[in-house]
Symmetry: C2
Subunit: 223 residues, 2 copies
């Protein structure tokens, strides 16, 4: 069973499809039926079939959110509910949650008027909920977080810090320019470079990454 | 011919469809074909057919953008190119362009680090390009802009001001809560309330609005 907290248009099973699959992948024929273009047929069919089978089988529940407030509330509810699963629960925290936000009390009632020059804003830091997740909400769950940087020089240091500070089991370190080709998985014992299989057309870095995650989570459950 | 400057997932012909039409409207059958759910069949078929016919017929060109810099550059290029059409060109400026932005020179090279407390930002006002559009880029084109407010008390005043300041031919005044039911079209001579036809299922406020816009633009060309 997978609980998927999602915002916007990144949907499970759709990552190989064009941004706007309905208009890009289909044509309508004269006898008033709708057909998939042959060039996209396999990918579209796979996305639809796998999504339906996951949703209908009860393996996937999508939980949409818009604001950071909703995201953190949903995460807490899920974490507390999954506590009873012990080490079998896994958190795969890939969402790029914003680092800063506008606190409720400093929001204006109405749309801000633009007439009066520049706008000065003070953004507050989003509280680091990973710590609370690990220490209070679901202390025995297997936790994976992501660290994205644009500056390779600080990436591994930041990933290491997140691992220790928030007691993650794995941190996936990825660099904006190369993250579709390789990522580095940081654990307490090792740093593992995970690369896309460039000999397979359409293979992506998630394929070997997910294998590694499942392996480590299985070992964690058995330990 | 329509040039559509678009950002994100709002696509022409898709406004009646669910947010995620591929996964919501289709099923796959055992003989490995993909089928539209009967409940969505008509809407999906209409969206695909109308989009294909507009694109293939050369009536619609979509120009995607991400940043405000791209948007304003694209708008200028289009406006200057359409100048030769004189009054036959129409600008329907419905995009909610941000009022404020972060100037290039104050952007950081790398992802901003979150460790060091709150973040103070000074946002600059986006230059008001409507004025330049009307006075330099395409002075004879028919121009419609939109004014959205959350505060009804100031909406019509702001719409009136935009009409005069930027010499728009029409300003569509809409209020966040009620904009799917009614809008007020402000021109130099009159204020026209445009309402959705609530007796027709699926009718929206755009239907009568577009009729009004076409009428006024035709009269403008003939004048």
């Amino acid at each position: 069973m997978k609980l998927y907290i999602c915002r916007g248009t990144c949907q499970p099973f759709c990552r190989s499809l064009p941004d706007d699959p309905l208009l890009e992948c289909f044509t309508s024929t004269d006898d008033s039926s709708v057909q998939v273009d042959p060039s996209h047929a396999e990918m579209v069919k796979r996305a639809i079939t796998e999504n339906r089978s996951a949703v209908n089988g009860g393996f996937l529940l999508k939980l949409p959110f818009t604001t950071i407030f909703e995201y953190l509330q949903i995460l807490r509810m899920i974490a507390v509910s999954l506590r009873s699963l012990g080490p079998s629960a896994m958190f795969y925290l890939a969402a790029a949650v914003s680092d800063f936000y506008v606190p409720w009390e400093s929001m204006t009632m109405h749309k801000i008027q633009s007439a009066s020059g520049p706008l000065d804003m003070r953004l507050a830091q989003v509280p680091k909920m990973l710590y609370v997740l690990r220490n209070e909400w679901a202390p025995v769950a297997f936790c994976i977080s992501f660290k994205l940087e644009t500056d390779t020089d600080i990436l591994l240091g930041k990933a290491d810090m997140a691992l220790k500070k928030y007691k993650m089991h794995m941190v996936v370190a990825n660099e904006l320019q190369t993250r579709k080709e390789e990522v580095i998985v940081v654990t307490e014992q090792e740093k593992i470079t995970v690369r896309r299989d460039t000999t397979q057309p359409g293979a992506d870095v998630e394929d070997p990454l997910i294998k590694l995650v499942v392996d480590r989570h299985s070992a964690y459950i058995d330990a």
